[in-house]
């Protein structure tokens, strides 16, 4: 049997593809693109929330938030190293990010303006990410799937933490209620855009679904999320900022108004409110840490030489 056919057979039988298996170049490259974007999103995603660690309003909140942002660093690490199994180094991926050549989730190019945004990111944004990541547990590439299993386990705490913050604010004093509604108004539409462009205009979806890298289309995932999150919002007394929102009794699904895809494409192009700052912050951390990385490397080198001399 030809390699291509064997590969296709594995995909059809829902067998995982492992690093040393033969795979079409295009499959490899699409995975590298998708996984590195995912890893970059975790790393850049640390920044909007990290912005509030020093201002968290109680010790419990401070520790919860710090642990959550730390998890994101961990998740970035897991995904980077699992992407390395495809033959690209973490250094190459990070270079691509810092040079502005790589994409990451648009959502992190929006600013966190109040404490309620921290709740909103946990409940809404992580909730959306969970829908996507739960699907990716079943992805055809073994290392990606394994990273997702671990990440989904850990992310449950993020969503619960966010939900708790949002619910506390929604039940709080009028200023807190105003704060949390304002946050929902700002985060609602960008969160819906996280699932990517509509199926009719999604260049990669078809191919990725054929390979079972993705198991559901952007619109299907978006709908799953909407149906889950709207009742939660209503339960907390929050208003979804969409005048066209209706519940379709026949289908049992919520139907939303038009998403502003112009905004989506503008943010992708780098014109979002925080694109520039996010990358600048990453670059600065990378540059000011260079001497540390070099020192550790030089030390390791010296130690090795000494050992060789001794033996």
């Amino acid at each position: 049997m030809k390699e291509q056919d064997k590969f296709q057979e594995k995909i059809e039988q829902d067998e995982k593809i492992e690093p040393k298996d033969w795979m079409p170049d295009r499959y490899r490259n699409q995975l590298i693109r998708m996984m590195s974007q995912h890893a970059h999103s975790e790393i850049v995603g640390m920044l909007p929330e990290g912005n509030w660690i020093t201002r968290a309003p109680s010790l419990r909140r401070k520790m919860g938030l710090l642990a959550k942002v730390q998890d994101e660093a961990g998740h970035g690490m897991y995904i980077y190293s699992n992407t390395e199994t495809l033959g690209i180094s973490r250094q190459e991926m990070i270079d691509q990010l810092l040079k502005g050549e790589a994409k990451y989730s648009n959502i992190f190019n929006y600013p966190t303006l109040s404490w309620a945004d921290i709740g909103m990111i946990g409940w809404l944004v992580d909730g959306a990410a969970m829908v996507n990541q739960t699907m990716l547990v079943k992805t055809s590439y073994g290392p990606y799937s394994r990273a997702m299993i671990r990440i989904c386990k850990e992310e449950n705490f993020h969503r619960k933490q966010g939900h708790e913050i949002v619910a506390t604010l929604a039940n709080g004093i009028p200023e807190q209620q105003e704060m949390v509604q304002d946050a929902l108004n700002r985060w609602w539409w960008p969160t819906l855009m996280m699932f990517g462009p509509p199926d009719s205009n999604s260049p990669h979806t078809n191919e990725l679904m054929q390979w079972k890298v993705k198991r559901k289309s952007n619109d299907e995932l978006r709908q799953d999320f909407i149906d889950r999150v709207i009742p939660e919002a209503h339960q907390m007394g929050l208003k979804i900022p969409d005048p066209d929102l209706i519940f379709n009794e026949e289908t049992g699904h919520w139907e939303i108004g038009e998403i502003d895809w112009d905004e989506f494409w503008q943010v992708i192009k780098g014109n979002g409110p925080m694109n520039h700052e996010r990358l600048e912050t990453r670059r600065k951390a990378h540059e000011s840490g260079r001497w540390v990385r070099e020192a550790a490397e030089a030390y390791a080198h010296k130690q090795k030489l000494q050992q060789q001399k001794a033996s």
Binding site: L47, L59, A73, T281
Partner: protein
């Protein structure tokens, strides 16, 4: 002096050192030199803030005036904070953060080990838990001190200068006053003198292995933190940290 008052004051000292250092360390989150170190620094910060939280809870219990740990953290003013000045200095570069952790954790390794013997059972329990965390903090900061001290010329120069900068703040680690003397007598908390010789030994070993020069001990040593006479840095740090609860004092978070 009432033992209860002395104990409250003493718990604030222990707690504030950790709260302020934990807060400073948390500023690294997302800005570390490499991903792995981002995670390590967050663990350090979490340990410090966790210890502070436990100590403040106990302090609130001892005080028994209806305040809780968050009230103590968020509603005391700069002059009421009891931490040593070393921990409130801005984070500086990575080497500065590492040397500060080294100096602080080496002290705590010897101090907490003895504080475990206090006759106050609750404090002994907190000391014992903090002690195991401190062992790891020392390991982490020691290993990094070796790498930076004996890494490149640049790293050696940087970390030596951080060490020199921090040294005048080490004296305060060993300051003793009547409050602590009272508790040494009443609750068997440790004397600082034997802690100092343990600290000297640990620090000398690390500095020697790292090829770093120990700054002079006969220089003028900073103090004042224990009585709330801080550097200017603490005020702006607290302004940021306490902003939300103070803006909405009636709110629950």
């Amino acid at each position: 002096m009432k033992t209860k008052d002395a104990l409250f004051e003493f718990l604030l000292r222990l707690a504030d050192d950790r709260l302020v250092l934990g807060h400073r360390t948390s500023e690294w989150c997302g800005h570390g030199p490499i991903l792995e170190e981002d995670i390590a620094l967050a663990n350090l910060a979490l340990d410090h803030i966790g210890q502070a939280n436990n100590l403040l809870e106990y302090a609130a219990e001892v005080e028994n005036e209806g305040r809780d740990a968050d009230d103590l953290a968020y509603f005391r003013n700069t002059r009421e904070f009891r931490n040593i000045k070393m921990v409130e200095l801005p984070i500086g570069d990575f080497g500065f953060t590492i040397v500060r952790e080294l100096l602080f954790s080496a002290f705590n390794l010897h101090y907490l080990d003895r504080l475990k013997q206090t006759s106050d059972k609750q404090l002994a329990g907190l000391a014992s838990k903090a002690y195991s965390e401190t062992q790891y903090h020392l390991r982490h900061s020691k290993q990094w001190t070796l790498r930076l001290g004996d890494g490149t010329d640049e790293s050696h120069r940087r970390i030596q200068s951080s060490l020199n900068e921090l040294w005048p703040y080490t004296g305060e680690l060993f300051d003793e006053d009547e409050i602590e003397e009272h508790l040494v007598f009443e609750l068997n908390i440790p004397n600082k003198e034997p802690v100092r010789s343990g600290w000297n030994q640990t620090i000398n070993e690390v500095l020697e292995e790292a090829g770093l020069e120990r700054p002079a001990d006969d220089q003028y040593m900073q103090s004042g933190g224990r009585t709330g006479f801080h550097t200017e840095h603490l005020g702006s740090m607290l302004a940021e940290m306490q902003q939300l609860p103070r803006a909405y004092p009636d709110a629950e978070w």
